[in-house]
Amino acid sequence: MEFFDTPEQEALRDALRSFTRKHATPERVRAAMASQTGIDEAAWKSLSNDLGLLGLAVPESVGGAGAGFAEVTVAVEELGRVLLPSPYASSALVVLLLAESVAPLAEELLPGLADGSLVGAPAWHADLSVGADGSLTGTAGNVVDGAAADVFLIAMGRDLLAVRASAVTVTPQPTLDQTRPQASLRLDAAPAVRVGESARALALHRVLTAAECLAGAEHCLDVTVGYLKTREQFGRPIGSFQALKHRCADLAVEVAAARSAVRAAVWTAALPEHAHPEQARPEVSLAALAPLAALVASRTFTRVTGEMIQLHGGIGFTWEHEAHLYFKRAKSSQLLLGSDTALRAEIGRVAGLLR
């Protein structure tokens, strides 16, 4: 099992960190938050064109980099770590799924998605019915990056369907987490094409979101610990007080647990679907690991960001400080992934623990 970056992944991570240092400055993030689209267009263009980040998972034969799920995870982590306002995570997931698809539509859309001229977004919270001609009618809410999307992926039963945005009425929604826009959709007999399996899509979505949560939690713990080392009260750094140290230690253990869960899920998700029998096979299936990673990582992210505010004291409660951005991202991710109760029940069922 690979728990650590390969040299290629490490190089990618380094490149992304220099990219985000340049683009994801607090000023740029704030400006994008206040903008109409909620996206940093310059950063989006640069990561699509200069870095070719969206083509990571696209086969080389179609003009992509031919990398895999683990590399996309690295990108999602590094962009999520700084809350870079872009539809990368949504669109990269769509690219991953369409790259696995044999549908002609996938082939048609991939080049545009891979160079960033098209944007894709999954719509998980949908209330739709299928017409006799296979078209979809109804609504979908909480579609992350919905306003930017040219194509939507929608789960209907076991099928994953693709719908072009041109056939959908898209309404942007104001969001609690202003670094990640959402929209609602209205479909009226919108043509839909089957491009894959909904279970695979949901699993990959959860793992990517879990990875993003992990990176956010790591960042917030780092920032908090750094603050405790420098902030002085009672004549000494407050990080020397055991009450605060122990809380940080507990957070560090939680983050380590989340890291283990995410790494295992990424490793399993990145295995070829029909792995060669001699290849290492996971003891626990992706069907259990994906909700597990989502549950553990989003819970950890939420807890770390709450503690981040508390341990920073008054400054952590200000609009100016970055803590609230992560706090809101964490809770939004957790709520969008589904309740702890539902995820636990699913894990229990898949792992055969519950009747």
Binding site: S240, A257, L353
Partner: protein, 392 residues
């Protein structure tokens, strides 16, 4: 010796256990684990000798040191299969897991020649003389004294929480040899024979009603002049080396045991209907999640030390892992009796505890021994996160 194929090795371990965990040893299945260290000790010592004959002790030690030089992946396989077979808790683990690696790291070649074979054959049992009534988390406060007179060390003092002391042939003792030195200085690491006048072992009755641990009193007890590991005054460094190796590859056997305990609790919940209580069901799923997380954390920790021998001690990831498993295990203990319900309030005659009750009670020690949760948090905060030391 070449490294055998992993699956062939697994089969070899399985076959050997199936063949040998029979006859006089059949009664040992499931005995002597955590909370049951007091059970069948004599028989388990005989079992250690059988393991030694089979070449199953010191798997990771180099061949030069008498071991088999197997990589950690094979050691994991051994521990997994050992636990899967329900083979008994290791009476020899103090020698194999603690003293042996310490001697390999710090011992002289004479000491290795003298003591490693006895560990590898299961012929000599060891116990650990670290903690004292006044030196628990603050180990550097040990008061046991040793003085070199007439070519011998004379040891006086009291140790506590010493597992299997009444069965041990030897004790490695952290003692103050320089009365003028303070704290971590002036301590020495001595190898003291247990079977001699002046050694008094008194079992401690724990809240389980059983006695795994002992108090050990030393009254002018002797050790040979050469039976000091490291130089006089270097005892602290040597002792810390032992503590670091304490949390090595045996983690996987421990986790296999955890998995079996979890399965038993889950089965009980299905049998008595507790699984239909949503809160208990949620806690069971969380316990299973914890098992997975600990497994991958252990893999990551060991992966980071790939190829590392017993001399390559783990860093703070060991403290993270300890805090994780100790808390998880304690929670499982509470879950076990909660699943049992009112039934779990009744014991057998003579305070004979059920497995669930034993788990519930004994796991209270997990968060205390081998560095309490609080000490682990201090270490994680200071060494992993780099937070400043507390003003003292």
């Amino acid at each position: 010796m070449s490294v055998p194929d992993a699956e062939a090795f697994r089969a070899e371990v399985r076959d050997w256990l199936a063949t040998n965990l029979t006859g006089e040893f059949a009664t040992l299945v499931g005995r002597g684990g955590p909370g049951r260290e007091h059970e069948f000790v004599e028989e388990r010592i005989a079992w250690e000798r059988r393991l030694g004959e089979g070449g199953w002790i010191g798997l990771g030690w180099s061949e030069e040191d008498g071991g088999r030089g197997l990589p950690w992946s094979h050691q994991v396989i051994f521990y997994e299969e050992y636990a899967r077979a329900g083979a008994p808790g290791r009476a020899g683990h103090v020698g194999e897991q603690l003293l042996g690696p310490t001697l390999i790291m710090f011992g002289s070649s004479e000491q290795k020649q003298r003591y490693l074979p006895g560990i590898l054959s299961g012929a000599e049992m060891w116990c650990q003389g670290y903690s004292e009534p006044g030196a628990g988390s603050d180990l550097a406060a040990v008061k046991t004294r040793a003085e070199l007179r007439d070519g011998q060390w004379h040891v006086d003092g009291q140790k506590v929480w010493t597992s299997l002391a009444q069965f041990a042939d030897w004790c490695f003792v952290l003692a103050r040899t320089d009365a003028a030195a303070e704290r971590h200085h002036g301590l020495s690491y001595l190898l003291v024979p247990m079977r001699q006048p002046g050694v008094d072992v008194r079992p401690i009755v724990q809240l389980t009603g059983t006695s795994e641990f002992n108090e050990v009193f030393f009254d002018d007890v002797r050790a040979a002049a050469q039976d000091i590991v490291g130089a006089p005054g270097d005892g602290w460094q040597v002792a810390m080396g032992t503590l670091a190796v304490e949390r090595g590859v045996s983690t996987f056997g421990q986790q296999m045991g955890f998995r079996q305990e979890f399965e038993a609790v889950l089965a009980a919940a299905h049998a008595n209907g507790a699984i239909d209580d949503p809160q208990l069901a949620a806690r069971l799923v969380e316990a299973w999640i914890g098992l997975q997380v600990m497994h991958w954390t252990a893999l990551a920790t060991l992966g980071a030390r790939l190829g590392a021998g017993p001399g390559n001690a783990p860093g703070t990831e060991a403290n993270v892992a300890k805090l994780m498993w100790a808390s998880w295990h304690r929670d499982l203990g509470e879950l076990a009796v909660d699943v049992g319900g009112p039934e779990a309030t009744l014991t057998g005659p003579d305070y004979d505890l059920t497995d669930a009750q034993r788990l519930f009670l004994f796991t209270r020690s997990d968060t205390i021994y081998g560095g309490s949760n609080e000490i682990q948090r201090n270490v994680i905060a200071e060494r992993l996160l780099g937070l400043p030391r507390e003003a003292r």
